[in-house]
Symmetry: C2
Subunit: 218 residues, 2 copies
């Protein structure tokens, strides 16, 4: 895999030790996320929209309704897509050194409208399997009418920066020596709860393994 290109936009201006330039790190951050925040410029002002996504190799795919204004505006325009995982609250002896542990990926590029039907199909499968692994097989696939109501957009993973902070707080030596104040990390994780069946489901229906399997054992 080629490393991530460093451009004026992806070079970190400070805390460079948090930068990751391996493409694998980008993939890891993207594949562990569910929502990205897409920024576009509308009438000179930024707009940031949360949305799902999927990844196939070096392409990030977004989708939405043909009725969604932001998707129509986004095609062909410069965008920025950011995925962030918050892993912990960093408590320091000083307020100043309080921080967060996190992994984030910031991707810059131009959205391309996907028109090739094979690529549309592959992109939708990637998006659905990212959100709900197993659903592309289990659920009914999109019909012609549904496909006509769906826009698929592609973003090349060419220009991106990845930042990671891990570990304990970086307190000043004088605060450490003085003692008396707690410091450490409060980890944060996202967990799946007990599945809630649709009220219109047959009462005897059991939760299939592709859903049940995501829930951690109690």
């Amino acid at each position: 895999m080629t490393p991530l290109a460093t451009t004026s936009r992806t070079r970190l201006t400070r805390l460079r030790e948090r930068a990751r330039t391996d493409r694998a790190d980008l993939y890891t951050v993207l594949d562990a996320g569910l929502v990205c925040h897409v920024g576009l410029v509308v009438d000179g002002a930024p707009v940031v929209i949360p949305t799902g996504y999927g990844r196939l190799d070096d392409t990030l795919y977004l989708h939405g309704s043909t009725g969604a204004g932001w998707l129509r505006r986004a095609a062909g325009a410069p965008v920025c897509a950011t995925v962030t995982h918050l892993d912990g609250i960093v408590y320091a002896r000083s307020v100043f050194h309080h921080s967060m542990n996190y992994r984030s990926a910031v991707i810059h590029g131009t959205l391309r409208t996907v028109t090739d039907l094979g690529e549309v199909d592959a992109a939708l499968a990637a998006i659905v399997e990212h959100l709900a692994p197993g659903s592309w097989e289990h659920a009914r696939r999109p019909d012609r009418r549904e496909l006509a109501a769906t826009v698929v957009l592609a973003l090349d993973l060419a220009e991106a920066s990845v930042k990671v902070r891990t570990g304990p707080p970086g307190d000043d030596e004088s605060d450490i020596t003085q003692g008396g104040r707690w410091a450490g990390v409060l980890p944060l994780t996202t967990v799946f709860g007990e599945p809630v069946p649709c009220p219109t489901l047959e009462p005897a229906a059991t939760t299939p393994p592709h859903v049940r399997g995501r829930v951690a054992p109690a």
Copy 2:
């Protein structure tokens, strides 16, 4: 409380039933979050940065190092700050009706650099207490040098939209009637894990209640 103003930017173009226009709904979404995604325009292209925040009444506060490029660029410029909570994966009988349950707030405005020392102090307290309740009291407050290295920015909560999706999937009647496919919601929650003390902490130090109290009983 005044309802949120509806402007061309905050009016939803589709799925209007997901819109919330009470200011209280905006506060609830903001107060439950830890990270916002701030969009700015740099050389005509959008940039989306994850960052912490705090709220005091009708003002959202951001802060950062004077060395952070994006903060310098953001002052006085139009920005968009978005906070998103992902509450569940919505499994439908059809791929098309797969969705997410979520709460999101999108705020549009212009960032003002806070220079009044009283407001800087109140804003930093709000940001720290939002991230780590109790730390403003427990930890060492910022000294003159640390304050000089910190930029505080304010965003009026004047123009904002709030969207909420809850509940089961909205499957087509024909897919419900046909049966045989699971549908429902897989809830998602963010939980705090066991606190990890800083390696430089005295071994006998106990985790204080303002940290310990955030962890759900096992």
